[in-house]
Symmetry: C2
């Protein structure tokens, strides 16, 4: 039988101690991590970055198909992705959780196993947090801290006309993975004896359940001495993030449908689900890729020396312009959804 | 009729813009506050502090008697109190909220009116956050940032034998205020036409609903050139916090019942509620006073030059000792509750 320890046996301080004792990684900036009123870091002359995210059960995740370990990992990814989106390097995180008694100590251990795995993978330290009771669902809050040299920072604003719009990795996979999980949940609810059909969809499922933050891209850009002129992470969907970049820079955007990076497994999932893969890429969200603009003169360096960055369009002078140029060479406003025929 | 604007009319970005536009205060360290992926601060050579708190409806607050404006104020107080407890000065906060559609824009405005009032009172800047949907109750998360010169930091550990234990303000009021509110809620539930009897209890109600963080005490200690040898804020109750200080320093504590500061209005409320005022002071929590230890040689300076600090005991050598010396000169373990006769 699976072990189950009631949370009240540990108590809050026992739980904090248990979490603290599991952490392997410590950051050079940390003077004092978990266990006092506040975490203490050594200052320096860089900019300090801070960002915070809230994840709520029933809104951001469904525990009927999201393993707690993956949820913890994704929480950290979501937090530090915002630091990366400033061209910063994440250093530390705090995590607060509100949970009900239906969670056992083993369940909390699973959640923190994911949190701490992500902390190790991204070399950030968990330096504090708060745990409390919830009357209803699980609520997770992450605050990520980071640093960036003053001349390296990339805001959402800052793009110039003719800057090239770049995006890392591929898009839409996380959304399509979610649709696969939702489909199988419905099948299970209607026929609990049936087995979920997930085979072949491992890629999009991983994009949904265990996304990665693109620390590697930030490191590559630094090695190439490229500072993006503007940057944001793709958490709400490409179309929405593009509109943010354009609005903050007071300029327009033009992107090309055929340049949008979509994984072949995302095409497969979209076909099976009768969804448009480009719609998923534009509006899906949760991919945690980096969307950024570069000067024309940096184009060749990225083309020659990186492999996982796509050039999807450019910044235009007209701030009212936010256009998608389709494969048929039609110009469609980026606010419009559903121009794709389903299953295309 | 009271104005009610549905939240979905604004949308998340509209809400963020609305909040950002209401903020008057900006901190000298802030390079970029609300409106990008992460907040940006200028670094320096001090220690950076970070602390986070979660407040959950039905666990930490009851909206049937807590005004949203006060709740927002208290959230910030709770957050920065942890920075003060490191002998630090708070600089910035981020606030995340999960809320359901039962909240109108006006309700969110009330909440942020309290948040921003506290930010102005304590000279901290709201630099970011996250707003999201909740399927059930309201959840609030605050992350407070601060700084402290390296030679000024006060940890929970660090006390020495014979250090004097000090506490600011008075204790138990917040707990007794809560009991008054709970009593009146029960009366209301049983007889909705009756008016709540709150007159005479303004002090303890304010302690519960609109507590203050003791930034003034931190400033006083700096003016006197006193660095506490250990410090914690009283959020869970004096007895619990004393055990933390003792355990972290590997020493014991002895405090004297007659030295515990209790406001006369707290005595009054306790009598009416048939509760022990010292029990409330020891175990009540949420007073957000500062509990700290000082060297013997700093005693006279505090005695002569401050007015709102009480000397309640001293640090002893035996780490197994955590004693309360009663007015009758009995020594009672601090873990014991309810030695007081009710209504004493």
């Amino acid at each position: 039988m699976e072990e189950r320890t009631e949370l009240n046996i540990l108590g809050e301080f026992g739980l904090i101690h248990r979490i603290a004792s599991q952490q392997q990684f410590s950051h050079a900036r940390t003077v004092k991590g978990i266990g006092d009123d506040a975490a203490v870091s050594k200052g320096n002359t860089d900019y300090q970055l801070v960002s915070t995210e809230l994840m709520v059960e029933g809104v951001h995740f469904d525990l009927s198909y999201v393993p707690l370990k993956h949820l913890g990992y994704k929480l950290i990814v979501a937090g530090i992705s915002d630091i990366l989106a400033m061209n910063g390097l994440p250093t530390q995180v705090t995590v607060s959780i509100a949970l009900s008694n239906r969670f056992s100590v083993e369940a909390v251990d699973e959640l923190y196993a994911g949190i701490l795995t992500a902390c190790e993978d991204y070399e950030v330290e968990l330096v504090g947090g708060d745990t409390t009771t919830s009357r209803s669902g699980l609520v997770l809050s992450v605050t990520a801290l980071g640093t960036v040299e003053k001349d390296q920072i990339a805001y959402r604003r800052g793009a110039s006309v003719n800057d090239i719009i770049c995006v890392s990795g591929d898009l839409g996979g996380a959304y399509l993975g979610l649709q696969i999980l939702e489909r199988e949940k419905q099948v299970f609810l209607e026929a609990p004896e049936s087995q979920p059909i997930l085979a072949g969809h491992e890629y999009v499922l991983q994009r949904q359940l265990k996304p990665e933050a693109r620390l590697d891209i930030i490191k590559q850009l630094r090695e190439l001495n490229i500072v993006p002129t503007s940057m944001i992470d793709v958490s709400d969907g490409l179309a929405s993030e593009l509109r943010h970049l354009a609005a903050e820079s007071g300029l327009g955007v033009r992107i090309f449908e055929e340049q949008i990076p979509i994984h072949q497994k995302a095409y497969l999932a979209a076909t099976e689900l009768k969804l448009g893969p480009f719609t998923a890429a534009l509006n899906g969200g949760e991919d945690y890729e980096l969307l950024f603009t570069i000067r024309q003169e940096d184009y060749q360096k990225i083309l020659d020396q990186t492999t996982d960055i796509s050039f999807i369009g450019f910044i235009s002078a007209d701030p009212t312009e936010a256009l998608l140029i389709t494969k048929q060479n039609e110009a469609i406003p980026l606010t419009a959804q559903g121009w794709e025929k389903q299953g295309e």
